[in-house]
């Protein structure tokens, strides 16, 4: 039996992935890339939960990961439908095109 992985490394990796996703959201203007970066951030959050759950050998981390997973699935379904709508209305994928709401 080898030594287990320190929890800090898992959390560090989760933080790194989350930061990369955040940079993606802030830097990219194509709405598909923004959605992908959101997926990265959600995934990093799930990784943090699973890491913490593994540290104390509890199932709660994976349960929270499941909730995040279902939330990501719902978010992607609605988000991609909005992408298609944006494309059909503005003929572009630029997120700034929809910065004004015509209420």
């Amino acid at each position: 039996m080898m030594a287990s992985i320190p929890m800090e490394y898992g959390l560090l990796l989760a933080g790194t992935l989350f930061a990369l996703g955040l940079i993606g959201v802030l830097v990219r203007r194509n709405i598909v890339f923004i959605l992908m970066s959101l997926e990265i951030m959600l995934n990093a959050t799930g990784l943090a939960f699973v890491t913490a759950g593994a540290r104390w050998a509890q199932a709660d981390g994976q349960v929270m990961y499941l909730f995040i997973l279902s939330m990501a699935a719902a978010e992607v379904a609605v988000g991609l439908a909005l992408v298609l709508k944006l494309r059909s209305q503005f003929k572009t994928l630029d997120a700034d095109a929809a910065s004004r709401m015509h209420g």
Binding site: M2, I40, M71, A72, A77, R100, H102
Partner: protein, 189 residues
């Protein structure tokens, strides 16, 4: 298996970096899939085999397929064929292929060594997760199902309007709809 964690972590960070720097959506998507697979390996090394399986099936499988569908839908137009020939070049898939090969090598190594037990303090079995899900977290499961239902209804609503709008535009030109026509005339660069 410690080495497996570090290699998979490196693969995850590299492929995620590639996701946010690629210009082509399909290239970014390939790297994103590799990144999710790497995170699945990390889940496995942490002793969360159930979460690892779900990561591959749901994230890398179902959600990414949705992305692929939408990107393929969006790429209509004359430049699509030019892009298509460009996508088939070696340069576009060699990066994700190498990163995925590293993960496959890890898998083969772990199977060959026969040590499928995770070195975590105590691996969390799927049975424990199921008992927690349908015990203290039962309300959360119900709420998640409601959320999924709301997501499905919302996506259907948006998609249906989109289809109807196309029909309407095709039938009697554009600009005769309240908000949609507004946007079309306003910011059509």
């Amino acid at each position: 298996m410690n080495a497996a964690f570090y290699i998979a972590a490196a693969v995850a960070v590299i492929s995620t970096l590639m996701v946010i720097t690629r210009l082509n959506a399909i290239h970014a998507l390939l790297y994103l899939i590799v990144s999710l697979l790497a995170v699945a390996v990390i889940f496995f090394t942490l002793g969360a085999a159930f979460a690892a399986a779900l990561e591959v099936i749901t994230y890398a499988g179902a959600i990414m397929v949705l992305f692929v569908f939408v990107i393929m839908l969006l790429n209509m137009g004359p430049q699509a064929t030019a892009q298509e020939s460009q996508w088939l070049s070696l340069k576009s898939w060699i990066g994700p292929a190498i990163l995925a090969l590293i993960l496959v090598g890890e898998l083969a190594f772990i199977i060959a060594r026969g040590s499928l037990r995770a070195p975590a303090p105590g691996p969390v079995e799927p049975k424990q997760v199921g008992e927690a899900l349908f015990g203290p977290y039962l309300l959360g499961v119900e709420l998640a199902s409601l959320l999924l239902l709301a997501g499905m209804v919302g996506a259907y609503h948006l998609g249906r309007e989109w289809g109807a709008e196309i029909e309407r535009e095709g039938a009697r030109g554009q600009g005769d709809k309240g908000t949609g026509g507004h946007g079309d005339n306003g910011i059509n660069v």
